[in-house]
Symmetry: D2
Subunit: 340 residues, 4 copies
Amino acid sequence: MLYFECDYDTGAHEKILKRLAETNMEPLAGYGCDRYCESAREKIRRACACPEAKVFFLAGGTQTNAVVIRTLLKPYEGVVAASTGHIGVHEAGAVEFTGHKVLELPQHEGKILAEELAQYIENFFEDENHEHMVFPGMVYLSHPTEYGTLYTKEELKKISEVCRNYQIPLYLDGARLGYGLAAEETDVTLPVLAEYCDAFYIGGTKVGALCGEAVVFPRRAPKYFMTMAKQHGAMMAKGRLLGIQFDVLFTDGLYMEISRHAIRMAMLMKEGMKKRGCRFLLDSPTNQQFLVLENGEMEKLKEKVVFSFWEKVDDSHTAVRFATSWATQERDVRELLELF
Amino acid sequence: MLYFECDYDTGAHEKILKRLAETNMEPLAGYGCDRYCESAREKIRRACACPEAKVFFLAGGTQTNAVVIRTLLKPYEGVVAASTGHIGVHEAGAVEFTGHKVLELPQHEGKILAEELAQYIENFFEDENHEHMVFPGMVYLSHPTEYGTLYTKEELKKISEVCRNYQIPLYLDGARLGYGLAAEETDVTLPVLAEYCDAFYIGGTKVGALCGEAVVFPRRAPKYFMTMAKQHGAMMAKGRLLGIQFDVLFTDGLYMEISRHAIRMAMLMKEGMKKRGCRFLLDSPTNQQFLVLENGEMEKLKEKVVFSFWEKVDDSHTAVRFATSWATQERDVRELLELF
Amino acid sequence: MLYFECDYDTGAHEKILKRLAETNMEPLAGYGCDRYCESAREKIRRACACPEAKVFFLAGGTQTNAVVIRTLLKPYEGVVAASTGHIGVHEAGAVEFTGHKVLELPQHEGKILAEELAQYIENFFEDENHEHMVFPGMVYLSHPTEYGTLYTKEELKKISEVCRNYQIPLYLDGARLGYGLAAEETDVTLPVLAEYCDAFYIGGTKVGALCGEAVVFPRRAPKYFMTMAKQHGAMMAKGRLLGIQFDVLFTDGLYMEISRHAIRMAMLMKEGMKKRGCRFLLDSPTNQQFLVLENGEMEKLKEKVVFSFWEKVDDSHTAVRFATSWATQERDVRELLELF
Amino acid sequence: MLYFECDYDTGAHEKILKRLAETNMEPLAGYGCDRYCESAREKIRRACACPEAKVFFLAGGTQTNAVVIRTLLKPYEGVVAASTGHIGVHEAGAVEFTGHKVLELPQHEGKILAEELAQYIENFFEDENHEHMVFPGMVYLSHPTEYGTLYTKEELKKISEVCRNYQIPLYLDGARLGYGLAAEETDVTLPVLAEYCDAFYIGGTKVGALCGEAVVFPRRAPKYFMTMAKQHGAMMAKGRLLGIQFDVLFTDGLYMEISRHAIRMAMLMKEGMKKRGCRFLLDSPTNQQFLVLENGEMEKLKEKVVFSFWEKVDDSHTAVRFATSWATQERDVRELLELF
């Protein structure tokens, strides 16, 4: 069987496991106050070219989104997101559970447009009834998006300008950030994110770690962020598990190295599929590739490959996802291509 | 330096690390649907002598408490707990964040009494204004308690009877459950818990795992428990991390074996301290021992040992905690005793 | 100045004020337990031809929606509503504040279609990832809708069938229910609502009362509904204020009588405007009429009439609302028509 | 039958009903933007000698407490209150529903002590684990308390100093404020409250109105308070109902006049009971008087008087409450006294 279902179906990069074993018996302070967390924070600050950044480690993506969003919003505010945004669709209502509405903007291959955002906020404040409505209190982007697409630096800059114009924080969900930063033609880097965002997270779970996301506040962190995390059940007693993993990922460029590998595998797969005449749902430069398959063909493929259902296209066609990761083997990609 | 600060200052039992490494590259389904989670569930069901039990894995204790409590309560209900209960004191308001009140009963060395519980519930329903008040909707126990003390089987039985009499679920927080089950004179076992509780969790984080707690519903699990966990940000993408750890802990009795080790170390420490004339805050049969130290003595000790501040006793005395764990070395205990 | 801004700009029907004065010094039990509340409940049950109905009185519409929705939903569920539904747009996030998501369906002149609802629910349960999503847990309709339009009996029946097929309660927001029931060609009556809905409310605030909405559960009320109301701050100490008002409104058909008056005034206005060539945003059979005005014309009109901004149509046109109510005077309508 | 059950068993002062009738057909803006609300605000500002105060009208006490508390707290904070405080006992968990914990201090005849408050806050910040705990974020007082007792100006000053020392807002629940201000020996006035509190409310429901509480922020109101109220379902469409009532209550000193009447009636009752040898639970200077009755005597009394059960004292005695109000008739008090 070949596995292209997702980017979290294997364990962790071997260097992480090795380091966990080496440090295993060292007595360390709990709750993220150990030396490995501190070292990882420092390395991330350096990678972001942002020596003043505050960095926190949480266990998973939904948790991170909920804690950051609740922490940045005032109670009468909601978070603006693309209609396909992960927080609005696949997090079981985690944002609403914190008491806040997800305010939807139209999505364009998973992205929002600065112009539509500006128009939305302007319309809101011009509406005579806006004090009866949920205020737009922050903007949520995912990068890569749920469709594997990427914002350009220019697009981020424009969205950031809209946000700053209205003093609304910009937050970027980087569950798969490595695969975005390693894409071939992107001009978005960690320092770019640190410049334009008020908060973002660097995904570990899907990029080589067993679990863990690193939240970065480039300028100013919310007061008592860790108490908020605790209140959400998001503070790990053995914070070392997160610190050590990110310390390894940000040593000698490992995070980017393994991300680039996933992109190479994805591009090999994409080019091969293109040559074989596959139909794509859209053009993704990252580790997730979306194909439109005829249903019979899809069923046959399922016998040999594990991939993800994405959405029904029409009665006889289905969009499916093939994902690579830091762990994908080139020979598996080549075997996969033989099946088309 | 000697480390007796807590039971979560080292990593994981070596067998866990070994198994994580062995299984690392196996592609596995996410979100707790993999074979290791299933195997761990089956082993836990067997250990509980409860073939019908539903078992779920979550990452940490506060998270587990919040998800279970919210899932079992109706919106007009609160959870009854000892005034020293972890949920009421040291979880940053995680239960209140879910919209529910913690209803406090007096604590007796960390425990509640069945009689006082019955009286509380009876008074509630007899109060003519009770529809203006928060209904007692479940009972929370911690075992061992925050003071290291244990309920007896008889005490659990009585509390359980009160709960069943009023159709109120009984939930037991087993963050340190291993150290309770392994205590020398306890008659409480996993099957006993499965008989008397409606839900409980078997703590992993403090008993040999990197993270993870196993929630057991002996009879009937709440509908869509995993969706609720997801909504709380408590569903791990790489559920394997939890499943593999509990699979190892429940193979060949490892969980009890390492728990008994911690108890042996705690009793060695306790007896030694007793002989040396130390004053105890109370009599704990588990891995946490609470001493009352004169402040000058305490400061001197701090130069050589890491232990926890517990509470101020009077102007010249402080209660402190020394904890052993699965990882405690006998020679460290002996060195510690030399200091008294 | 002429006032057509809304249907809550005057006080209460004079019979209500009279009855409040007559009963003013009677000592009565609080919190809705007095004889007038009981009498009003009985009259409403009779008007609904539903002797088993449970009836509760709350103060206002947003409050009622929040309490009913939270009470009927399980924590992993959301409420399905038209994208223009009041709960999703103009209640400042009151539903999300209770922890629940509003799941939007396309609106058709303010209404949802049974077919689209069925498709939505079916798609949800067929989605392999639905346990990561918010479950559709109830359906919210407003009748009249925010655009003054009405469901037919057949439409309600079909929506109700979809709901029952999936065991999802159907809830109808009747803030302006009187004006719907009194519309000229409707076949929807209170007994029809009692048959097809699991909960609905009969609006008082906009139909002759100072405040107050009567929630009707035709079959089975949620347990401890009043405790839930109290928790939301929605239980009035002087419940008599609500009971007496509804008792008057449901004595000798006053509720329908004053509603019919508002409809007569609205139809007089509508026909007159039509004759004068006004352009309507849509065809409303109820007390709210939506005109599309050229902006210059709109500004001029504002000097003599108070009406509501509704939405921008294009750069030179605006949709505005003219509302009649139980209190509208025929001579005011005739004066208004002179202005077109 | 004689009625001394509570202070909300009759309607409204006749001047209120009269004014509601006089203004009934005036078209007025909704949601508290009408001229009567504005006039009432201005009169309240004058009565408080606080021209900068922001004043808002809400419908009831529990609602007011929930909105104000949620609005003033940060998400990691709780509200400190006496263990007998209304918010902690008789509001069905309304504060917890907003996600916040009620942090209990010992009560002294319903009051908290400045010294104990200071100690509590100091201990909190000295606790090394305080970032795992709920922060004390505001202080809640009720005045009169649930036991009818009153703070002195000096006590309020001291509590206020503690609050300001830690930058924690002080909030006073004045559900029965009139009866406190009108007590014979009190030195607390509205300007005193405006000086020492950051927020307080002037109760209308129990002091002559049909419903309504006036929230006063002497210095600075939270941003978008009305949007928060709307989110809680606490914004009345016909805000006039609240504005007109408070406008009447604060015209020509009516609020104090009717409050003084209730106190005269209460003192007449208290002195008479004393003379007849009744045993009091405590010494209350306000409109609520608490007697300890032998159970047989209590049952006999119930045949002729309606009063409230308060609490069980011992197996043969019960504490009960007799309340006067603005509407109490002197002849009823005299008749009542005949029964002892």
